[in-house]
Symmetry: C2
Subunit: 663 residues, 2 copies
């Protein structure tokens, strides 16, 4: 404490006062050594300790807070409201909100209908299954979900992922019925996975897929999806089943002379230009957000009409041909509850369910932050899961929140999940009455719509920002991206997960350590690399360990500290200065939030090694958990309780009070 406050740069006139004062401070500081012992928190009971860890892990968001101190009947009402939030917000629903929801609902409906038909193809399913998935799931979600802005339905990436995974098991052209049954099975288990994660409050598991990895994965998936559209866009009949860029380009160039259909290309290209132009307008002026939103439907109407009157389908332009009329048939009996396919569907369902969750939760959180309302991730998962379980029984495949449609929903002024009900109603009308009109819709137009939709998933800006902020994150991003493009969605996903985990492991195995120095005219000790004017204290090496000391890093930390000491001693020798030898090694433990048995063991070994070199081990500011364990393991006694200090300044002044004054 003697060094606290300015001392060397005082004005002359203050010198006298200063000297007097200094002695006061010194006197005081000697008292203080008795006052400021490192606090040892009261020992928690074992059960309480477990309970609090459990609570922070699974109930970090304190979801039971509103239930506290309520009568039984009220708790029941609250419980039902927690499962069906519509009962809560529905009571304050009014006409003004309905207006916003109506416009938003109609807008996203016009956007989703052509997209659904295209996405169903990505999943190797007939077009109507895309529409089915935009009818039932949004309805269920509207009752159970708590996001006000998400737009539910099939999405590009999940459709592609599901299509790829299912295709590995069953050939969709040879066994369409079995393929479809497996799709429903996978959807069922995707829903079960989601409900389970939510119910057991394991939602934090999806946080293990890092933002960077998702950006790379999404970008790669978008390009893969766009490449797949070349089939419809160029009118190629024989197309590879693989999704990697090399196979696809091979397929495309191999068919350039006798596979491309110029009429198809003309239709596709002109409408793609129209769609991109509409997008551009929407981006340039936020007021015209509805232009890109309804452009796809307009394109479909115009292109269908054009093909119908010119009979272009007779010149090789491929058309949708037939979309089953009527709403979702039941598919309960089609789900495999026994046999080989049960396990396969289960596996595929877990993967698809997790990816669908990642997307939906990211959307939900983004808009909740924008409008500043609370969103319980785990409750959302239960809602999304329930909607997929019901969906799998009503001929839907995996639905989730769509990035692009949610953004349109938000911009169109949606107020509540009622916009999803409106959309669902429009899809219902479409299924009941309009599907035959899609007969002449050229496939090329669907491809154009999908291409223009997935372009938005390629987030250059995010990638550039990631590059700027964190190079390792960028490697994860690039790895996932290249994995998806050059191998497959699964490989890309695997790379993304693997790199994410590798980063966590790297973090815990190789924590940072730093040498601290005293910042002149303060009692503050900081990393000398960050603060070049910070001065080392002669005779004391101050090392800060920047992580909890666990089995995964205890050995490294011990050896790293000894290496710092060795380096320092060699430097001192090389300098030939009459510097005092290192007498104390001070470990600043502020960032050490926890220590386990291996960590204690490593400290003991460190202490032993230091003793052999005649260097004293001193600790500064161990946290509550650490000080508790230092005592219960007997380590505090081993090095002496008086070698553990409140902070670095006190420790330094105790180790060499004279030296501190000089610095």
């Amino acid at each position: 404490m003697a060094s606290v406050g300015p001392s060397s740069d005082e004005k002359n006139e203050a010198k006298e006062i200063n000297t007097k004062r200094q002695s006061l401070v010194n006197q005081h500081s000697q008292n203080e050594h008795h006052f400021h012992k490192v606090g040892i928190p009261p020992r928690q009971k074992l059960f309480k300790e477990f309970a609090s860890t459990f609570k922070e892990t699974f109930f970090a968001d304190d979801p039971l807070r509103p239930f506290k101190d309520q009568p039984q009947s009220r708790k029941l009402v609250l419980g039902i409201q927690a499962i069906f939030p519509i009962l809560e917000w529905g009571r304050s629903y009014n006409l003004k909100k309905l207006k916003g929801d109506l416009i938003a609902g109609l807008t996203i409906a016009s956007l989703c209908i052509p997209q659904d038909i295209g996405y169903a193809k990505l999943a190797n399913l007939d077009p109507q299954y895309g529409l089915y998935s935009s009818f039932v799931p949004p309805l269920i979600y509207a009752f159970m979900g708590s996001s006000r802005d998400i737009a539910i339905g099939p999405v590009a990436v999940v459709s592609l992922l599901l299509g790829t995974l299912l295709q590995n098991e069953i050939d969709p052209t040879k066994n369409p019925v079995e393929y479809r049954r497996l799709a429903f099975t996978a959807t069922f288990f995707a829903g079960i996975t989601q409900v389970t994660l939510g119910f057991f409050r394991l939602g934090f598991l999806i946080d293990f897929l890092s933002h960077a990895a998702i950006v790379g994965f999404m970008g790669g998936a978008a390009i893969t999806i766009a490449l797949q559209q070349l089939k419809g866009f160029l009118g190629i009949k024989k197309f590879t089943k693989k999704t990697d860029i090399i196979s696809v380009m091979h397929s495309v160039w191999g068919s350039v002379h006798h596979g491309w259909n110029w009429q198809t290309i003309v239709i596709g290209a002109s409408f793609l230009a129209f769609l991109l132009f509409a997008k551009y307008i929407g981006k340039k002026n936020r007021k015209f957000f509805w232009v890109p939103a309804i452009a796809p439907l307009i394109s479909v109407v115009l292109a269908t009409f054009f093909v119908y009157i010119t009979h272009a389908e007779k010149h090789g332009v491929q058309i949708v041909k037939n979309i089953e009329k009527g709403i979702n048939p039941s598919s309960v009996k089609e789900i495999y509850f026994t046999g080989d396919y049960l396990l396969k569907g289960f596996r595929i369902g877990i993967v698809a369910g997790m990816i669908a969750l990642t997307e939906a939760i990211a959307i939900g959180r983004t808009f909740a932050a924008m409008k500043d309302y609370q969103l319980d991730g785990n409750k959302e998962m239960v809602a999304l899961g329930a909607m997929n379980v019901v969906g799998s029984m009503t001929s839907c495949y995996v639905a989730t929140g769509s990035f692009s449609r949610s953004a349109v929903n938000y911009m169109a002024g949606c107020q509540t999940a009622v916009s999803n009900i409106i959309m669902s109603f429009v899809v219902f009308l479409t299924l009941e009455f309009i599907t035959p009109l899609f007969k002449y819709t050229p496939n090329a137009i669907l491809s154009s719509i999908i291409i223009s939709a997935v372009i938005g998933l390629i987030d250059y800006d995010a990638a550039i920002l990631i590059w700027k902020i964190d190079k390792l994150d960028f490697v994860a991003c690039l790895g996932a991206f290249l994995g998806v493009i050059f191998a497959s969605v699964e490989i890309g996903l695997l790379i993304a997960v693997a790199i994410s985990f590798a980063k966590i492991l790297l973090q815990v195995t190789r924590p940072r350590t730093a040498i601290l120095g005293k910042i002149p005219r303060t009692a503050v000790y900081r990393n000398i690399q960050q603060y070049p004017d910070a001065k080392k204290v002669p005779g004391i090496l101050i090392v800060r360990v920047d992580s909890a000391i666990y089995f995964s890093n205890s050995n490294y930390i011990k050896e790293r500290i000894l290496r710092w000491l060795r380096d320092e001693e060699e430097q001192l020798k090389a300098a030939y200065l009459p510097q005092p030898q290192i007498k104390s090694l001070l470990v600043e433990m502020s960032p050490v939030t926890d220590i386990d048995t291996s960590g204690i063991h490593a400290l003991e070994e460190l202490h032993k090694s230091l003793q052999k070199r005649d260097v004293q081990l001193v600790l500064a500011n161990p946290g509550p958990v650490v000080i508790d364990k230092l005592h219960s393991s007997g380590f505090a006694n081993l090095i002496g309780e008086d070698r553990i200090f409140l902070n670095v300044a006190e420790a330094v002044s105790s180790c060499s009070p004279k030296l501190v004054e000089e610095v």
Copy 2:
């Protein structure tokens, strides 16, 4: 800074001085805000950044240090010495050292011979393979290894693990030849795994098995091994193949009436008593360490002689019968390099190799710390791996460092790895000349020897210490222990690894946060739970985040901080005191060693949420990496660079200089 130093507890006579001084300090502190900006370290070049991360990860121990600034020829010599350390220490070898090594070598030889025969049985191999494995591997290790105290050879746990894993693939009684070939294949790949880990400096991977998990696993394995010995000990002929306690006890009690052989039990029990008594003597007085060390060999000699003269083998006492004479035959051609068994051997080899490494490295480190010499873990792995690769070609199965024999080696005064050469030589003589004498050795005596050996692996004290220090570690320990005992070694191992990883994940997903308060009469801010006399600063909520902010926890941290704020505001409301509202949220970032893109994103969202509540976000003491990223991402500009402070004290005094004085 205004609060630095004592202010309220000054004596009256110092009041005048104090007031004058205070104004000086204040004046000074205003200057200082310009002086103590948070340091931004010079930006590192991309390559340099990667290189330094790479170096800390894989070359943390700086193994190339001695090579620096040396001429080419010297580098070559150093390189060869690095691979064969014997060339280095061999030059200073002398008679005095030889004396120590000779005694130690003879002692561990007498201990290892009976153990080897028993351990080979655990691995379902003929007795000579145990002896083979104590002949070649120790020789290789003596040339390549750098531990001076480790005793190499087959060990109980690895033998059991290998036996269990191999038995799952091939029945050793029905197909002994194929079984043996698979054993050599697994040994080969165990060696390859070890060399690979060492060569690519991935040695830190074994640190992911926590100390606690190993204690539990070893204890469980010891009990399982002891239970397996009941077969030989009781003379039971029909015995279960399973290793779990329930199957074994069922087998034992099921054969109580017509399977136990009383002569066998008498021999086994009396010698077990003798061995345990010898152990007790050795433990009581360290000088008599040689008593338990040679007791097994004495028992074997006595028991063999006894059986030979009484012809007890005709009364149902099972004997060893035949041990092949002569040294290790070549087994290069027996290793499966093609076919189905290649992959199986590979898989088993990886597991057995890793466990063998864990044991050897733990031993090496322990004794290196006791004698204070450096041990390069990665170099050790290469040596251990090379010895197993050569071993697999000379009819050995996986060898590693033995806990019990290494301890005896150390206590017998070994100086270098020459003691392993001596032991190896004695085993060679045994194989060449003495094996026929083992014909009448009763199996019961081998069982007794193994039981008395593995008892030492049950480390009660460690388990009790773990319980005291860390309850979660104890769960890992108990899980591994029960897993091994009630299921199998593999399951136990799996549980140990799973719990270890779960702990790491828990650590990174749910980091601790704490509310800080000012410790009276200091400028130190500490966790108010640890220091009950620390006082919150009115109007400012100070939260410390105790971990790097990564994708895996960024969301949790954001929401946890908001929850602290909400709780605090509710408390203030409930208190009805005329307390000022929370105006600033100060995040103490000292322990935040790194932040990634998700973390920056979370901070941005936090900032946004706080703005809506009219609370200002202030940061204190971000580290070098963090401040760099805060700037490159533009976040520092977003909240204002003047909202980032050197430490909490400065931040507080800037936020509400007046309030600080009052506290």
